[in-house]
Symmetry: C2
């Protein structure tokens, strides 16, 4: 199903159509942070903990530097294979080349498949470059931002707006010097926000699986908060709207281009490239003529 | 003009419409690399050098960790202000919050303004997270990837696909240990590619302005290569097409939604969110009915 969905086109639409009534149950959790922050190791720990609680887990790695996608050292990859034998875990890394729009749409569709076939939790690993890709962000219920002590990363994260999107803050590598100071600074930072959900700052040492249970507890609390406050339903509606408009504009465009024909489209492009007419003037005249 | 374009809407279209016949002359150069690689300092050096050659320079910073956008240490910012008095230089940092699509479209439009009003060179600073945002990548003629010695960054860059998009590779901080080794490794890496343009690997120490002249020379050579090979014109046509399709699909969507009315659209969204119908089935039926 995943390969079919990733390939796109009619086959992908068939899969998503069939799964649609069964979606909307999974807790979709984004794990984001700088390369080297230990996102993959945290995901490994979370997955093991969730499996002990008998929840099924799907991991979708969008980060090109992810241990899951092959960007990590050998030791990490060996640890990742520890999950391989368990039928309650599925790991998928996404191709991250090509157009951002295409990648994020494919990721959204793959997450939808995991949701539709019944995984309880879907963990989505993205590199935090200050912006979660739109279609991915749309899917995520809870965003975990992974920080590490020292090196001014904290300031960087502030600037990049990562703190703003965090529902849970993890200070990984908390056995290192400066961990408490980083945690204190982050706590002071989120203290100032006026959001109803109080963002917890959790010390974790992912390689030793220390602090993982607290992260899992907070994930459950955040889901309960979303449901209680009506935000879960609201988010569902926002997502439906964005995807509807996305699919609609694609369909309208492709209908228009089919009717116009390749030769006519090439002619329009040439007129723009040669500076005979600008994009907006041409589009307006086409819409007025009702082509 | 820039504020008008950033605000979007009808006023933005008017500006772009008026400037369109004057665009297509500027050399648009992307400067990309990890945070801390020294992109801003390199840009400062390039700008000074280009000014000495009497070329006008616009800088557009899309990277949220850029020294131009305020993500840097005080020392960097002080150095940046060295450019402030020169009317042949214009520095603009883009808001990087919000939807990726919106940010990249706004950036593309701002670059267009600088091109249209006659800047010779437009330097676009983006954080290299493995993917240049689509609309930004579309605008850039030459991509400079900034690397630094050691720390396995080289491997990271490989994984992130940065080498693939590089037209010029800069090894910044080349006064540091391991610089030669990094340069050798990168040179071996690009040696293997079959592209007609041979990607130069240039040692630079941006803080001391060492090696900047070689980068400027290579920028000129790359522009000449693009023009000679017909790639400059081809890229122009590809850009025109992408922008035309983008504007057209937006116009078609907005015409459709206006005709349908808010109440009907809300009803459609509700049917999707409640799992009564899936996105693609609904869109197909709407297109068939020719609403």
């Amino acid at each position: 199903l995943i390969s079919q969905v990733e390939a796109g086109g009619e086959a992908a639409r068939d899969v998503l159509r069939a799964l649609h009534p069964h979606t909307g149950q999974a807790h979709v959790v984004g794990i984001t942070g700088a390369p080297g922050a230990g996102k993959s190791t945290l995901i490994l720990g979370l997955t093991r903990h969730l499996r002990e609680m008998d929840r099924t887990v799907a991991v979708v790695a969008v980060d090109p530097s992810s241990a899951f996608t092959g960007g990590a050292l050998l030791g990490d990859r060996v640890r990742m294979t520890a999950l391989a034998g368990d039928p309650g875990v599925y790991v998928r890394s996404m191709a991250t080349r090509g157009q951002v729009g295409g990648v994020s749409r494919a990721t959204a569709d793959v997450v939808r498949v995991f949701d539709g076939v019944g995984y309880d939790v879907v963990l989505v690993e993205t590199v935090g470059a200050g912006q979660l890709e739109t279609a991915v962000a749309r899917l995520v219920h809870t965003t975990v931002v992974v920080e590490t002590p020292g090196m001014g990363d904290d300031v960087q994260a502030l600037k990049a707006g990562l703190l703003e999107i965090a529902d849970i803050l993890v200070v990984n590598k908390s056995d290192r010097p400066g961990a408490r100071q980083t945690a204190r600074m982050l706590a002071a930072e989120v203290e100032g926000t006026t959001r109803e959900w109080r963002v917890p700052v959790l010390p974790v040492t992912a390689v030793e699986a220390t602090g993982i249970d607290a992260v899992c507890t907070c994930l459950g609390q955040h889901r309960a908060y979303l449901e209680r406050s009506g935000l879960w339903v609201e988010r569902e509606r926002g997502r439906a709207k964005a995807e509807f408009l996305d699919a609609l504009s694609q369909a309208l465009l492709s209908r228009f281009l089919t009717r116009a024909g390749c030769a006519q489209v090439a002619g329009w492009v040439e007129r723009i490239a040669s500076r005979e007419v600008d994009v907006h003037t041409l589009v307006e005249s086409l819409c007025e003529r009702g082509v």
